[in-house]
Structures are given as structure tokens and as C-alpha cells.
């Protein structure tokens, strides 16, 4: 392939964006700053994307949040930092590799002891003048909003709303802090590098103000509610806990039973009990917890009991890196549970997918009476951005429960493998489910001919599942020489990289259903002269899966497994070497 002589610059000119990073120790309010700034930018009509990297501790250490502010949507993290706000002395060493010569550092000189150049902004001193050093972060919020020429009323109103519950005194202090930030900005704008920082407010046709802004955990939770979830049981584990928290907080409103189980084994068994009664149940967990659920997954297979499993990956093995990201549990999900039985694995690519696929998971689990796994990761859970409001008219809760007759048999040998699912107490029949191999009634059996029939019955469902499969999405030219392949959370990152590469003959194939592997996969792969796999793991698990089902060996792999997601600029550089 002929390579362009012009060195590609990310982002291209049409896409103006600023990468803002705030870094400081845990427990010092970075999350509040992130929360306020993202909402303020969005209300100001700009696109925002935020993601964080944090340590597994409650206080101390170095955590950072990246906020990308842009005219056109950018939904992926960048290595580059345009503005850095370090809150303590550990911040600069922590981000050393990502600080470039154009990075503007805004901070308090005496707190930071910088090695390089820094624009000294006495946030704490100003806050103390207002009456309390806790206002320091809010002064910074005001300053940053002002640099981007956001109408001052927006942060004032939003901050008031945010702190309302804390009383008038706190609200007033925060308001003054915002105003002080704006005053500071008018001085700083005299500096050339600051004056140049601006993002044109995008075309109002983008309707950014009307869009919703939420993170992955919220999207999964809202998808679950929309899927008719009645029951969630889970043991808290990063990064999956957000879903349990969200559903607990909205349990009363939506008739949900949310229970913190004593362990993950209990959690999945409870969810299966819930489905048995006709309720729709889910669990949310991460690798270690999911490992404990294995026997329960297998039980779902044997009982033909629906269940929805949200598996948010983090780096393993064992405890690994609890607060970081990886796509290392694909094979765990694929082979979870002993014995042979069907399942579906969805791998959402972003907020919209997280919502609609979680919603759909409940319908498909119910329809096919199988476990459906939604495989996400820390990066997806903790990132958020503005996106189109979910369209509820597009979704439906499809129920597949039958009223039983006197002679009801739970495992009647149906042609397509799917027998009618009755529930106890509805109808005249009895509902028997058994983890032992069972007869049509549901009672234990060692009739080996029947055993073969029951295995066939369960596996027949694969054929039905195929009918509702989600094909991979091809991004770019239909005629390609090189095909980049990814699944799950790398969707927007690879898409951004592809757009920037501007290579006519390079396309991207993204899978949001990895299992059963969609039928068209082989055709897509065969068409390419070169296939490049991009995965957030060390052994390219999806390449192995592709080889298993298509026989095609992926020749090039771009892998990252240090606990961080891919950065777009970093990925572009890696892809350029291969293309």
C-alpha cells in the first residue's frame, strides 16, 4: 500500500478538540470536578467525553480524569494532554510520559513543585479568601469553563443545583468560587497559549443540549430497567458495582428487588430462582466473581433457565488490577460453566449499545431460555459522554411464559428445542426443574437414550439463536484490502483511528455479538488481504475464536494489556506501522 507522505495529524482540522486532564489523589474531589465540568460543557453546547484512570484505594495515590471537549463528537481517549490541572506533587510524575511541549499546565506552584513550566493559579488561596479551602476545585471549574467561553450563567446554575442539598452557605461559597474562576480567566487569556484555546460551539443542529450524558454503568442499568428487570443480586466488585448501585437506588420506583448477596455463588443462584418464578433477574460482576458463578452458569444451561449476566472485565489473573481495564475474560465467558449448552455473548461498543443490548438480553434470555452475557469492561463502565436520548418506542418487553395445564411438562421435547416455560402458581400444572439430567417432566433420570435426546434438545437452540444474531458492523469502504477487527469497548477508539488514517482500502469490522460467531464473519475475513486484530488483552483471544470457527489465522495483532484502554493517537501510530 502506498503511504501518504503527509504525516497524519490527529485530529484532523475539521475536528477541533481539547484534551483536558485533571490529576490528584483519591478523595480530593476530582470526581466532582469531572461531574461538573462535563455537564457544564454539554449545557454550553459542546461535545464532551470523559474517562478516568484510578488506583484501587479510597484516599491518596494519583488518579486522573480526561475530558475531551470537541466540536464534532470524539468518543475515545487520547494520550495527548492539552491542558493539565495537577492538584498535587504526584500528578506531574504520574503523567510524565503524556506531557508534551505544548501541554499547558495550570496549577498552584507551591503545591506542585514543578519540573517544567507552569501557569501559577492560586486556587487554594482564593478559596481561603472565600472562606474555605474546599472551594479550590470549584474555582478551577469556573476558570476552565471561562477559558472555553461558556456563558457564566451555566456553571452558576448547574453548581447551585448540584450543591443545593448542602445548604445555602455552601451554595453561596461555590457561586463565588465560580465567579472568581471567571475573573482569573480574563487575566489568563492575555497569555497567548491560553487565548488560542477555543472550541467553536458546534452547529445547533447537533442538539447537544438535548442529549443525555451518562456513563456505561448507567447505560447498562437503564437497559436492564427497560428490559423489565425485576431482580438484581450481586456481590460488590469493581468495575461492575455501578449497576447494582444504580438499580438499588431506583428499586422502589421500578419494582425491583436489589439484593447484595453474601457471595457471587449466592447471587447467580438467586437470579435463577427469580427467573423460575417468572421474574426477570440479572447479576453484575467482574472476572473473579464470575469465576465463582461458573457452576451457576452451568445450572442455567441444564435447567434451561434464562439469566442475564453483566460481566465487567478488569485485568486478571486473580485480583489483578481492580480499577483498570482489559478485554481478558472473553474466553472465560465463552467457556464458563461445565458441560455443553448454548449461550449468547454480547460485547457492546458504547453507551447506545450498552443500553439496547442489555434491554435485548432480557428478551433473548427469556425467549431461548439460556444465559445471555453482556461483556463490558472498566473503561466502558467509567467513561461517559453526551449521546442521543434512548428511544423507548424502539423497545419492547417480550414475555415468553405460558400458563400451565394439568399435564404440563417443563422439558417437553420440542422441535426447535424450546419447550414452553411455565412458572409455579400460574395454571394447573407443576413446574419441575432439575440440575440432574431429567425427563420431560423434569424429574431425575438415568435413561441414557433420553439423555442423548435432552442434550440434542438443548443444543438445537443454537439454530434458533442464529436467527436473531447481530451481524458485525463494517465501518469504511465495502471494498477493502486491510480489515481491522475489534470487539466491545474498542469500537469508538478504532473508529476514530480509522477516520484519521484516511486510508481508502482500510476498513474496520466491529463485533457486538462475539458468540455465537455471526454467520457473515468468514466472508468478511476472506475478502481482506490483511487482517489486523486490535484487542485489550495479551493473547488475542478473539483471534483464537475466529480461527476456531472460520479457520482463518489473523496475521497482525495490536494488543495492549497494561490496564489502560487504547489511546487514539497511540493506536494510529501502531496501525500505521502495519498498514
Amino acid at each position: 500500500m502506498v503511504k501518504s507522505d503527509n504525516k497524519k495529524i490527529y485530529p484532523d482540522k475539521g475536528k477541533q478538540m481539547i484534551s483536558l486532564v485533571i490529576c490528584g489523589e483519591a478523595g480530593r474531589g476530582i470526581q466532582t470536578v469531572e461531574m461538573l465540568l462535563t455537564r457544564i460543557f454539554k449545557l454550553g453546547g459542546l461535545n464532551v467525553f470523559a474517562t478516568k484512570e484510578y488506583m484501587s484505594r479510597v484516599r491518596g495515590g494519583s488518579n486522573s480524569t480526561q475530558i475531551i471537549i470537541s466540536s464534532k463528537k470524539v468518543l475515545a481517549p487520547l494520550s495527548r494532554i492539552d491542558i493539565l490541572v495537577p492538584l498535587d506533587k504526584l500528578a506531574l510524575p504520574h503523567l510524565k510520559k503524556r506531557i508534551g511541549k505544548n501541554t499547558i499546565i495550570l496549577g498552584e506552584k507551591e503545591k506542585i513543585l514543578p519540573e517544567g513550566e507552569i501557569l501559577d493559579v492560586p486556587f487554594t488561596k482564593i478559596a481561603e479568601e472565600i472562606g474555605n479551602p474546599i472551594f479550590a476545585n470549584i474555582v478551577a471549574v469556573g476558570l476552565i469553563a471561562a477559558i472555553f467561553r461558556i456563558n457564566q450563567q451555566i456553571p452558576l446554575e448547574y453548581t447551585r443545583k448540584h450543591f443545593l442539598a448542602k445548604g445555602e452557605k455552601i451554595v453561596q461559597g461555590n457561586m463565588i468560587a465560580i465567579k472568581k474562576g471567571y475573573e482569573l480567566a480574563s487575566d489568563l487569556r492575555k497569555i497567548e497559549s491560553i487565548a488560542q484555546l477555543s472550541i467553536p460551539i458546534p452547529d445547533p443542529q447537533q442538539h447537544i443540549k438535548e442529549e443525555i450524558i451518562l456513563n456505561g454503568a448507567e447505560a447498562v442499568s437503564l437497559g436492564a430497567i427497560s428490559g423489565g428487570c425485576h431482580f438484581i443480586s450481586a456481590y460488590p466488585m469493581s468495575p461492575s458495582t455501578g449497576v447494582l448501585t444504580f438499580l438499588s437506588q431506583h428499586a422502589e420506583e421500578f419494582n425491583i428487588i436489589a439484593e447484595q448477596a453474601e457471595d457471587e455463588i449466592s447471587a447467580i443462584n438467586m437470579a435463577l430462582g427469580a427467573w423460575y418464578t417468572g421474574a426477570r433477574g440479572m447479576v453484575t460482576t467482574s472476572g473473579g466473581g464470575f469465576a465463582l458463578m461458573q457452576e451457576g452458569v452451568s445450572l442455567a444451561g441444564m435447567l434451561e433457565m434464562p439469566v442475564v449476566i453483566h460481566l465487567a472485565q478488569r485485568p486478571g489473573p486473580a485480583t489483578g488490577l481492580p480499577t483498570r481495564t482489559e478485554q481478558g475474560d472473553l474466553e472465560l465467558a465463552l467457556y464458563s460453566g461445565h458441560g455443553e449448552f448454548p449461550r449468547i455473548i454480547y460485547t457492546p461498543g458504547g453507551i447506545q449499545d450498552l443500553f439496547y443490548l442489555t434491554q435485548r438480553a432480557f428478551n433473548l434470555a427469556d425467549e431461548y431460555q439460556i444465559p445471555v452475557i453482556i461483556l463490558t469492561d472498566e473503561y466502558l463502565m467509567d467513561s461517559y459522554y453526551n449521546t442521543a436520548e434512548f428511544n423507548l418506542s424502539k423497545i419492547k418487553i417480550e414475555k415468553y411464559i405460558s400458563k400451565t395445564k394439568k399435564d404440563y411438562r417443563r422439558y417437553q421435547l420440542a422441535k426447535n428445542g424450546i419447550s414452553e416455560r411455565g412458572i409455579p402458581g400460574w395454571g394447573e400444572g407443576l413446574v419441575l426443574v432439575d440440575s440432574d439430567e431429567h425427563d420431560e417432566q423434569g424429574r431425575i433420570t438415568e435413561d441414557l437414550e433420553l439423555r442423548t435426546k435432552m442434550v440434542d434438545k438443548r443444543l438445537k437452540k443454537f439454530k434458533e439463536i442464529k436467527k436473531g444474531e447481530i451481524s458485525p458492523e463494517l465501518i469504511g469502504n465495502q471494498e477493502y484490502d486491510t480489515l481491522i477487527v475489534g470487539w466491545g469497548s474498542t469500537y469508538h477508539i478504532i473508529k476514530e483511528a480509522l477516520e484519521s488514517l484516511k486510508e481508502d482500502k482500510v476498513s474496520f469490522l466491529h463485533f457486538k455479538q462475539v458468540y455465537p460467531l455471526p454467520s457473515k464473519t468468514e466472508d468478511y475475513l476472506k475478502k481482506a488481504k490483511k487482517v489486523i486484530m486490535v484487542e485489550n488483552n495479551a493473547t488475542s483471544q478473539f483471534s483464537k475464536l475466529l480461527k476456531l470457527y472460520t479457520g482463518i489465522e489473523v496475521a497482525h495483532e495490536v494488543l495492549k494489556y497494561n490496564g489502560l484502554p487504547f489511546f487514539v493517537d497511540e493506536l494510529i501510530a501502531q496501525l500505521e506501522k502495519i498498514i
Binding site: 443540549k209 442529549e211 422502589e252 428487588i257 439484593e259 449466592s266 430462582g273 423460575y276 402458581g425
Partner: protein, 286 residues
Amino acid sequence: MENLFDLEEKNIDLAWCPGCGNFGILQALKRAFTELEIKSESLVVVSGIGQAAKTPQYFKTNMFNGLHGRALPVATAIKACNPELTVIAEGGDGDMYGEGGNHFLHAIRRNPNLTNIVHNNMVYGLTKGQASPTSQLGFKTPVQVNGVFLEPFNPLAVAIALNASFVARAFIGDLEQTIEIFKEAIKHKGYALVDIFQPCVSFNKLNTHSWFKEKTFYLKGHDPSDRLAAFEQSIQTEKLPLGIFYKHPGKKTFEEGIKAYEVDKTPIINRMLDREKLRKLIKAKR
């Protein structure tokens, strides 16, 4: 009274050894359900794995025969999602106290309105004769070759320590009294534990029918609302009391603690998603 729980199929091949205590427990359960006028259709028996856990295979009931040790979480969720069902969690001493030990502790803490029936023969039957958590000190098995030296698990004392809402022990050698205890446990609102002594004719030559008969006696003049007295009775080892040790009738059940049931008692499975509320919640993310 007609027994409504007998299976219509005759000549069922029961997997139990002749003389096993499970036959009596099966009989006692069917009679207790019949006498309490419970309907098969609204009864769910959840069990784990083991010889005891096969019991619901042999009478007319809805059945969830799940994994070894995991009956209690399943039963808890079933009762919570549909409180109109009568729910029993049944299994043996290895199932409930060994493999499922953690769930046993936390089910007591949750206090779901269900009955936990534990066949306690102080030995593993289905895996052929190893020690169980309740095996007595010195009990020799092919695995515990020098005799058990681990402190036997005391389910009653543990349950009373956790302020369980109903704690009882029965001996299947006395069918009529076992039925009475079952009935009290099922009628009780809240988590009810019934630990039932039963001989294992194949693998336990120490704790035989006559051993239990000699060792046990019924509590007399005991006040089941007195937790300390109940605890004292539960830790006896010379003679083993039978009957209702402890009752805590006012205790809030798990279902009562669920917000969705505070005003509306309709089982959650019969409720529809409020789309308007959902729309508002999504809009609030603007």
C-alpha cells in the same frame, strides 16, 4: 385425611436404601402439607444435591432441584419474587451446613418466610460414607481414618446465635411429633429451621436408630421465647433435646423489608414497567 401429595405414577424407583430415614421424612412432609391444606400448585420445594435433596422428586410439588449447597439463595429469591408461594428449602447436613454453610448464615440474617428442612444423619450418603459437618468426634470413615477430630457443627446453636426466627429439632423415629414440628415451622412467618435426626443405615453405624432414641428427649416446660435458655439447650451433648427451641415471631421478614412490597402486596412478577417513569429518568440524564 386424603393425601394430595402422592404421585399418580406407581412403582416409582426411589433412590434410597431400605430402612433410610428419608422415607419417614417424605411421609411426614406430605402429611404436614395435607393437614395444612397447602396446594401442590402453590408449593415450591427447592433442594440441593444429596440423598436428602432427592425428596421433592417423590411427591407432587413444584420443584427446583438445583446445585449442591445452593438451595437457600434460590428459595430466598423465589419467595421474594412471588410471596404467594409456600417455599421449602430442603437438603442434608452436608448440603446445607457444609457446601452451603455461608448461605445458611446469611439466609438466617435475611429471614425470608420459608422453611429450611435439613436431614441430619451425621454422614455423607451419596458419596458413600465420609464425615459430614455434624459427624461426631471420633467417627471413623474411609477418609477420616483416625476418626473425626473437627468440632461438630452445631446448627441450632449457630441459628440461635444469629437470632433466627424459628429453630427446631426433630427425630424421624417419631413420625407424629415430626409432623407437628413441620407444621409449626411452615406456619411460622419468617425463616424456620428444622434439623431432623435420621439414621443412615448404610454408612453410619455409630448414630443408629437406637442411638438417637436413647440420646434424645423432648423439651418440657421450655419457653421458646427465651433465647438464652434456647441456646443452653442447643449446646447440650450428653442428651440431645428435641422440639421447638426458639421462636422470634415478630421479626421482619426479607419480603417485608423489600420496598416494592411496602404498600402494594402484588408479587413483582405481576407488575408492569412504568414507561413514563423510565422516560423521566432517562430525561433527567440531560
